[in-house]
């Protein structure tokens, strides 16, 4: 039956930032289908210009309370690569450990508090807490553990203060790490219950092949550094990130669109899962089996499922890193001293929402001359729209309400941080 559907969702809820979904179908033919980004452009790059490189990670970690460690990490890696700074093994382990903390914190927030309400047919986590208080309390408990993990290493709960170029200005004690290890072991019960809950949810059925882009490493499931790898066969050095992102402006969005070999690509937990499945912790692979997700998974709704897999992986790997640090003992290390020679460097890591790039040019005075940041959600925008265009004709006959719900769930599955992705104009520095 030919259908007319006109959808104009003003401000999709339960995503970070403001985006509108616009769909217009007449007599069963899709005429218009897009995700408008209406946030005011943020000028992160302009905020960094002229500031000492030592401030960059603190400034960028303020972009967002959810990806604070991720932005700090990408920022520090950009400065470290620009200045030729090598990290000690201890610093690497601590960087990894705090990253697991943020991954857990963000994935618990998204899976339980932003996505789960859709399956319980409630508007937000607040009524969900009335229906399923045990699940929400579990989520808060897991968030608390993740936040405390970030705090013992980063020196503060929300925005890390102890992470610096070359290492850390404050170190956790072995006793703190032992206590954290014990809490992570205890949390396995919550993690198991998380897998049990999410495997029961009826995920929407929708498949669309696309290109998946993530960092990869030969010896581990990559979160920090690595080679940019795509499921279409591309492998790039971090310095060549622009060959992958190919940012371009589009009329209806203040977020740029990205495309590599196809018209769009996807980044995030599902992309990491598809690219790096082999390197998942064995318990995470077991969870993937239980959750019914296999590479290469082409259902974008399963991004949330891949996040659940990463919750298992991050918990198990965090325990391993705690073990390594406890066995080595914590040693005070010399702080990096700037030698008066600047440079250019790219830093990249897999923040919860996908691959993030920071690219800095640092002058010989230690101040940032030029900066570029490419945020995961910006890279996903074109892919979200391509999914919407493929999905709508499949569900058009279900009526306006169901189409609307399906599209909102789709956008939320990407865990978009719309406010973060918005930096419409590249600032030209004269």
């Amino acid at each position: 039956m030919a259908q007319n559907v006109k959808i104009d969702i003003h401000h999709v809820t339960r995503v970070e930032g403001h985006g509108n979904i616009v769909v217009n179908a007449k007599n069963g033919v899709l005429e218009e289908c897009r995700l408008d980004i209406v946030e005011t452009p943020r000028f992160f790059e302009a905020m960094l210009r002229g500031r000492p490189y030592t401030e960059a990670s603190h400034i960028t970690s303020r972009i967002c309370g959810i990806c604070a460690v991720g932005h700090a990490t990408a920022s520090l890696r950009a400065s470290e690569n620009a200045l030729g700074v090598e990290l000690s093994e201890q610093a690497w382990l601590l960087r990894k450990l705090i990253f697991f903390g943020e991954m857990l914190d963000s994935h618990v927030l998204h899976t339980y508090m932003l996505v789960a309400p859709d399956f319980f047919k409630v508007g937000s986590v607040i009524p969900l807490a009335g229906i399923a208080p045990d699940a929400v309390l579990r989520a808060l408990r897991m968030k608390k553990l993740a936040g405390d993990l970030c705090a013992i290493i980063g020196g503060r709960h929300t925005h890390p203060i102890a992470m610096s170029v070359g290492g850390f200005t404050h170190l956790p004690t072995v006793d703190e790490l032992k206590a954290m290890r014990a809490r992570l072991i205890d949390s396995r019960k919550d993690v198991d219950e998380t897998v049990a809950l999410f495997k029961t949810l009826p995920w929407p059925k929708f498949e669309r092949e696309t290109e998946y882009v993530a960092l990869s490493k030969p010896d581990e499931y990559a979160f920090i550094d690595g080679t940019i790898t795509t499921t279409d066969g591309g492998k790039y050095h971090l310095n060549d990130y622009r060959k992958v992102t190919n940012e371009k402006c589009v009329e209806h969005s203040s977020s740029k669109h990205c495309a590599h070999k196809r018209d769009s690509y996807m980044v995030g937990a599902l992309a990491r899962f598809n690219v790096n499945y082999q390197q998942l912790n064995p318990k995470a692979k077991e969870a993937a089996d239980a959750l019914g997700i296999k590479p290469i998974c082409t259902n974008p709704y399963y991004n949330t499922v891949a996040q659940v897999v990463e919750i298992v992986h991050s918990t198990e790997e965090a325990i391993k890193v705690c073990d390594q640090l406890i066995a080595r003992g914590i040693k005070k290390e010399e702080a990096y001293k700037f030698a008066g020679k600047g440079g250019t460097g790219v830093g990249s890591c897999e923040v919860p929402r996908g691959i993030l790039f920071h690219n800095y040019e640092i002058g010989d005075d230690g101040n940032i001359v030029n900066a570029n940041c490419i945020i995961p959600t910006g890279q996903n925008m074109a892919n979200i729209e391509a999914d919407m265009r493929a999905l709508v004709p499949q569900i058009l006959d279900q009526g306006q309400e169901k189409v609307t719900f399906g599209l909102e769930m789709l956008v939320r599955a990407y865990d978009p941080c719309i406010s973060c992705s918005v930096h419409f104009l590249n600032v030209k520095f004269v």
Binding site: R62, C64, G65, D105, L109, A129, A151, H157, I161, H170
Partner: protein, 195 residues
């Protein structure tokens, strides 16, 4: 665009020097928390963080009671509940859209106001206070006694400095927050000596 450098501080070193290193929970959690909230990159939304930073300087001259910890909470979202956990009393400092003149501030308790989540109407949305408190209420989580110091912003557009009117208000808010912990708490008499 020329910016006022005096309001552009992102210094972790200062935080350490002035003893507001946020590690209270490791060395035994202090019962009273002064928590600055907001986004430092969104103009006046970051006023809570600025107040906390200035508080660090002010308390170099006259230290706070030992029971008080000062923390820059940034934008914790519902993670706010974890920051409140285990405290007896929390003083929240944040930008608040109250329809009064920019830079004016008010002290109030949660029960005296209605927190709305609308971005345009209430910048507390950004730091998640409304959602976090509503969630705690739904889950019947016992919260500490909470006092707000809400400061009326002039602008929460993307920029890394405060507007002039809100910048000028910071010392007055610092003074009011100090009075709150010193006057209300009798144990201030036992605080460390300071110059």
């Amino acid at each position: 665009m020329k910016k006022d450098r005096s309001t552009r501080k992102f210094s972790s070193r200062r935080a350490v020097e002035f003893g507001i290193w946020d590690l209270g929970f490791m060395i035994g959690m202090k019962p009273i928390l002064i928590l600055g909230l907001g986004n430092l990159l969104q103009g006046d939304d970051g006023v809570g963080c600025r107040v906390v930073e200035e508080l660090g300087e002010a308390t170099c001259q006259a230290p706070l009671p030992d029971e008080v910890e000062v923390m820059d909470g940034g934008t914790p979202g519902v993670g706010l509940l974890n920051l409140l956990d285990g405290r007896k009393r929390v003083i929240l400092v944040d930008a608040a859209e109250m329809g009064i003149a920019p830079g004016e501030f008010r002290r109030f308790a949660p029960q005296e106001i209605t927190l709305t989540g609308s971005r345009e109407r209430f910048s507390l949305h950004r730091s998640g206070v409304a959602d976090a408190l509503a969630l705690a209420n739904e889950l019947r989580i016992e919260l500490p006694e909470i006092v707000f110091f809400g400061i009326q912003p002039a602008s929460v557009e993307w920029r890394d400095s405060l507007s002039l009117s809100v910048h000028a208000a910071v010392p007055r808010v610092v003074e009011a927050v100090l009075n709150e912990v010193r006057l209300v708490q009798p144990w201030h008499l036992r605080s460390r000596q300071g110059k």
